[in-house]
């Protein structure tokens, strides 16, 4: 007779290897190319900003859970992601206390007070950023890096341009989206008789190249479209993110932007479309922040609706809003709508008859 008692449990008796820490660290890995590139282009200060954000996020979570005598969860990597994503959404030259304050606010107010990972309604990194935006708007919108030679994009930039130097400087001092938004104001103040020349300068082929590669002004992690897409491919391939949210987000946004420029009779609608898609935080937001599992819908249909909502709001803010960029606010607003979306997007149960 064998007296050994073996472990009992209900099936299944095997588990996917991709557990929570693996998921979280794969997300970090997928952001690594853009992060390294940002440090390379913007300099060592950016590295400090990133490390400060990650460290404060982890420390905030650790201390808070210690204080409340809850299970310590910092090693699952979710706090590190919050810190990293927040840093990627900051201008490169912000003072170091900015990422620290943002991370702590995001982790404690937006995540831990709701009950920790899994219970938060809003994306903690975006809440941190929104808080910083509201409290220190000047610091959050002026600490850009201006690239040398008085150009923000490339060294040959000046040769094509017929604009006066002060107008060029004004264009190059900020981010690509801010430049686009400033065109009418610039035309007025520098007496350029039509906006045509300014747009043509902006939509130069060298600028598109710079937008794809990322040697351009902008937040730390949002500049290089190609490297972000590389990371996104890793996440799609490992099935950590679902294609639905980024797809419907970007498709809705592209459709609306194109329709807008076409309908308003803009003379370079295709250029404007590509410019909008590549600049700002759209790619970072669509692939890495709107897809945050906790704060996005769970059903396939819900994901499509969520993405479409984000696209619509981003379009509205970029075109009619006060800010040049609207990705983070769109995602936050749509986060609030997730319970509603999930409620109305319940999939039909296999074989269930319609109830009268």
């Amino acid at each position: 007779m064998d007296q050994q008692i073996y472990t009992l449990s209900l099936a299944p008796h095997t588990k996917n290897r991709q557990n929570l820490p693996v998921v979280m660290w794969l997300v970090v890995l997928s952001l690594l190319p853009s992060t390294v590139f940002a440090v390379y282009t913007f300099g060592m200060h950016v590295l400090l900003v990133i490390l400060t954000a990650i460290f404060s996020a982890c420390a905030a979570e650790y201390l808070f859970r210690l204080l409340l005598k809850r299970e310590l969860t910092i090693f699952n990597g979710s706090a590190a992601i919050t810190g990293l994503l927040l840093a990627m959404n900051l201008p490169p030259m912000v003072p170091l206390w900015i990422p620290a304050v943002g991370s702590v606010f995001g982790i404690i107010i937006a995540k831990e007070l709701f009950g920790g990972l899994g219970h938060n309604i809003f994306n903690p990194a975006l809440v941190g950023r929104a808080f910083l935006m509201a409290s220190w708007p000047a610091l959050m919108t002026t600490k850009w890096i201006t690239f040398p030679n008085g150009t923000m994009f490339s060294s040959s930039f000046n040769a094509y341009s017929v604009l006066p130097q002060p107008a060029l400087d004004a264009l190059t001092g900020a981010t690509p989206l801010a430049a686009l938004k400033n065109v009418p104001a610039l035309a007025n103040s520098f007496n350029v008789h039509s906006q045509y020349n300014i747009y043509q300068t902006l939509f130069d082929i060298s600028n598109f190249k710079a937008l794809a590669i990322g040697n351009i002004g902008g937040c730390i992690g949002e500049t290089s479209a190609l490297l972000l897409l590389t990371g996104a491919l890793l996440l799609l391939f490992t099935r950590i993110i679902n294609w639905r949210i980024p797809f419907s987000y970007i498709a809705t946004f592209a459709l609306l932007i194109f329709a807008y420029y076409k309908l308003t009779g803009f003379f370079m609608p295709y250029h404007a479309l590509v410019y909008h898609l590549l600049s700002g935080g759209l790619i970072l937001g669509a692939f890495f922040m709107a897809t945050d599992m906790v704060t996005s819908p769970v059903t396939g249909k819900g994901m499509l609706v969520f993405g479409a909502g984000c696209g619509l709001l981003t379009f509205a803010i970029r075109i009619w809003g006060g800010y040049p960029e609207g990705v983070s606010y769109s995602i936050l607003l749509m986060n609030a709508a997730v319970p509603l979306i999930d409620k109305y997007c319940v999939p039909k149960i296999f074989g269930k008859r319609k109830q009268a």
């Binding site: 073996y6 095997t14 996917n16 290897r17 149960i349 074989g351």
Partner: protein
């Protein structure tokens, strides 16, 4: 890439390499067998032997009680040593008929094959009933019940389940490679009993050799009404309703049976057993079992007498490398963990796995992070995480609107969960709560 399939599902590591290439071996006949009288849902059989009686192999030892019940036969020749309660797969203490080897095996000779095509379907069905055949895929529903649909139901397709979507298990695969002719004959018998013309065999794309073997044989004998499309390898492809959908695009209604959409599903092993029973009068007293897992010394596909205890099987398979963390009867996705090696195998035991701690799941789970993977994986389109969340905070009454009763307990949600939550376990709790209330 575009093999027929269903919506949802997961891709667990197959782990079939351990036994995939092993042909079927006969396990030595054990000295003692414990044959449970209840081996599946329905009524337990009634013993027809007394302690001290001598029995031959294949002799009836317990008789079916009612319609949903099946006959049980002696699996070894010998003396009835006891009829007492003991551990069985179905319960910690179920009635078992203990047989001790006695006498000789000389009488075990194959009788001549009978020409079944001259018999009326009714006689064929009776032979299936007499042989005590029950589904060999795992759920082991009595086969004669499935083969006698009510007269007002029209069946037009017979589906043969050879998907074998559970990881580790390779019995169907091994059986096809060895006995494809007998299987096809069994399918033809089943078809005759049901009076249908069309048959579809479902094989997953990871069993290419078996697929080819059947396909070529069907071509050789010029059989056009048996089709064999290759299914996508995905779990739970072999779940009854999913298989029917993959092969015919018919949706079995919630809470309904396959016959409501004109189909009957039989496991491929069952077809083999039907052929043996009808052609040679051999009752079901042995079956094929994949013995596998990283901790068994000689994994393989073995022919084992029903009633052989796990302890005997371990001994015959070269012993264990170390103490397993879990012993599982069936496959790892919906098999049953057992607590002791005194449990005998039954008609529905398709696998016996000895799993290490690393191979099997256990331990702590974290918060739900609402990633929605359980929703994507659920073949029934439920919201498993919602049911689990309500059970976790002891509100089973709130789960009813998420229809936990539609869950087929395939375990895909628990498997895929990155927080390692036992989601399907929670759903089971919800099911039990709702059933108990009704």
């Amino acid at each position: 890439m575009f093999n027929p399939s269903f919506k949802g599902g997961v891709h667990p590591p197959e782990n079939k390499k351990l036994t995939e290439e092993r042909s079927i071996e006969n396990l030595s006949v054990p000295h003692t067998c414990f044959v449970p009288v209840q081996q599946h849902i329905g009524k337990p059989a009634i013993p027809v032997v007394q302690v001290g009686d001598y029995v031959q192999v294949g002799q009836l030892i317990a008789k079916a009680d009612g319609f949903i019940s099946s006959n049980i036969h002696a699996s070894i020749p010998g003396k009835i040593a006891s009829i007492t309660n003991g551990p069985t797969p179905a319960s910690a203490s179920g009635l078992r008929i203990q047989i001790e080897t006695h006498g000789n095996f000389a009488s075990e000779k194959t009788p001549d094959k009978i020409e079944w095509d001259k018999l009326p379907p009714k006689d064929l069905l009776e032979k299936v009933f007499d042989a005590g055949i029950a589904g060999m895929g795992g759920a082991s529903f009595p086969t004669h019940v499935k083969l006698s649909p009510p007269s007002n139901v029209k069946i037009d397709v017979l589906i043969i389940n050879a998907a074998e979507c559970e990881p580790y298990l390779t019995v169907d695969d091994a059986l096809i490679k060895r006995s494809y002719k007998e299987i096809i004959e069994g399918i033809m018998i089943t078809r005759t009993i049901l009076g249908v013309k069309n048959v579809i065999i479902g094989v997953e794309s990871n069993k290419k050799r078996s697929y080819k073997t059947i396909k070529e044989y069907l071509k050789k004998i010029g059989e056009k009404n048996i089709k064999i499309p290759m299914l996508k390898t995905k779990y739970p492809q072999g779940a009854e309703k999913q298989l029917i959908y993959s092969l015919t695009h018919r949706t079995v209604p919630s809470g309904g049976l396959p016959m409501e959409v004109g189909t009957v599903v039989q496991n491929i092993g069952t077809c083999f057993a039907i052929q043996q029973a009808v052609c040679y009068g051999t009752p079901l007293f042995e079956r094929l079992v994949t013995v596998s897992g990283s901790l068994i010394n000689k994994p393989g596909n073995y022919k084992i007498r029903i009633g052989t205890t796990i302890a005997d099987i371990i001994r015959e398979c070269g012993g264990l490398k170390e103490q397993p963390h879990k012993i599982v009867m069936g496959g790892p996705m919906c098999g049953q963990a057992v607590e002791t090696t005194d449990i005998p195998i039954v008609k529905g035991t398709s696998g016996l796995l000895f799993l290490s701690k690393e191979e099997s799941s256990a331990g702590r789970y974290a918060n739900c992070i609402r990633c929605g993977r359980c929703v994507q994986a659920c073949p029934i389109n439920l919201l498993p995480f919602e049911i689990a969340a309500n059970i976790e905070i002891s509100r089973p009454e709130c789960t009813e609107r998420f229809s936990p009763l539609d869950c087929i307990q395939c375990g895909a949600c628990s498997f895929i969960c990155p927080s390692r939550r036992p989601v399907s376990h929670f759903v089971k709790v919800a099911q039990d709560y709702i059933r108990s209330k009704r």
